[in-house]
Symmetry: C2
Subunit: 217 residues, 2 copies
DNA sequence: TGATCAAATATTGGATCCGCGCTAAGAACC
DNA sequence: GGTTCTTAGCGCGGATCCAATATTTGATCA
């Protein structure tokens, strides 16, 4: 079995994603230790990991709170994502290797197949794998790690507000264009297409979030 | 007194910056506990924090190692920094407030004064404050936190390879142009100037690093 | 002589207990 | 009646001990 703190950090993350812990909620060590049937040491370790991933906020001697995920946070996150996806797509096109080329095209194809079956979780995973393939093709570990963190946060908002299933055709088209730009080693086009892709995703998400915020007032 | 793990994480970071621990070196709990006169629990907590900051690498059941900082890591880091500084400068120009405007211009002036005294540490701090002011003016917490992490890593390489004192006039000129673009709320110019500024810093650093690598062979 | 396996050792991971600081509630004094 | 000080309890931070896991060393066999 994997170490408890890894196990626990995964479970807490899943519970946050599934809304078991609300944004801003205080996470007490004793409570969590009881809930996950362990001592408080692995819990502290796990919360520290989640803190590093930006999922929980921390204040010394006062404990951890679930990070509030609101419209303004998402605007910030997509600003960063926009910049990073673009630079990674450019680098992926420039540094393209045969292995990376295969990884990207098969991830693209897989997404198209899986998304046709309207299994949301599988579609999300396939989408993640596609972007991961580009990220890894860029060879930029720093950017890849940031994007990985962001993906965990995006899972929370997609769970809460729904994934863009109505935009699925558009997403597939975006992926196709982006893939061929990278395979053609057209860095300029790849950068622009990646940026445009993220912009569309942002518009879609923000519209939904604002809709929910208004209707819940 | 602040909590021990915070104290310890700061001390370990400083020791890494000052080269007391080499890149790739294994950091053992018992050893560090002995060195910093504490038990191994605060050490674990401290290393976990440094891991979150990207300064040490971690493998479960095997412990932490000081992250190797080489040319390829710096290329990656500056790719990210280039993208982020540009987007933050644009946002800072768009969202400019009177308070942010004051903060940026006074940080710019302070850098010019301090750098004239050729105190390297103070110059670094002033440079950091200038970029921090823009970062905070952008209002993007996510980007600010990433840049803060990167700054800690840059302190290590500047300590090792020297800060660009010969480029000081150029840096001041860059800062002046960038500041006026932001104060004029010219987002386009601010973004381009910020990107150019980071590019110059990268060229300077990489040249130095490659020089040292060659001469140490 | 080199490779592989096993045992010993070194190191990380986890539980429990206690101390300390923060917070909040109640009483006393102004 | 309001403000401040004290006290109690609640929860985080840290030490120590023990368990689990990795790494290394040495021995045996091909």
């Amino acid at each position: 079995m994997a170490s408890q703190y890894i196990e626990v950090s995964d479970r807490i993350r899943e519970d946050i994603i599934n809304g078991k812990f609300a944004g801003g909620e205080r996470l007490k060590l004793a409570e969590l230790a009881n809930l996950y049937a362990t001592s408080h040491m692995p819990i502290r370790e796990a919360l520290r990991i989640l803190n590093g991933q930006g999922i929980v906020d921390f204040t010394p001697n006062s404990g951890m709170r679930v990070r509030e995920i609101d419209v303004s946070f998402m605007i910030d996150l997509f600003d960063v994502r926009l910049a990073l996806e673009a630079v990674q797509a450019r680098r992926a096109a420039e540094r393209l290797t045969p292995a990376a080329s295969n990884a990207i095209s098969s991830a693209k194809t897989e997404f198209e197949c899986v998304s046709a079956e309207s299994d949301r979780d599988a579609t999300l995973k396939a989408n993640h794998r596609f972007h991961q393939a580009i990220s890894q093709a860029s060879g930029n570990r720093e950017a890849t790690e940031i994007e990985e963190r962001h993906y965990q946060i995006l899972r929370i908002v997609w769970q809460r507000y729904g994934y863009a299933s109505e935009r699925l055709e558009g997403v597939i088209e975006d992926h196709r264009l982006l893939t061929s730009a990278i395979l053609d080693q057209d860095a300029e086009a790849a950068g622009l297409l990646a940026a445009a892709h993220v912009m569309r995703a942002r518009r879609n998400l923000l519209t939904k979030m604002r809709g929910v915020e208004r209707s819940s007032q």
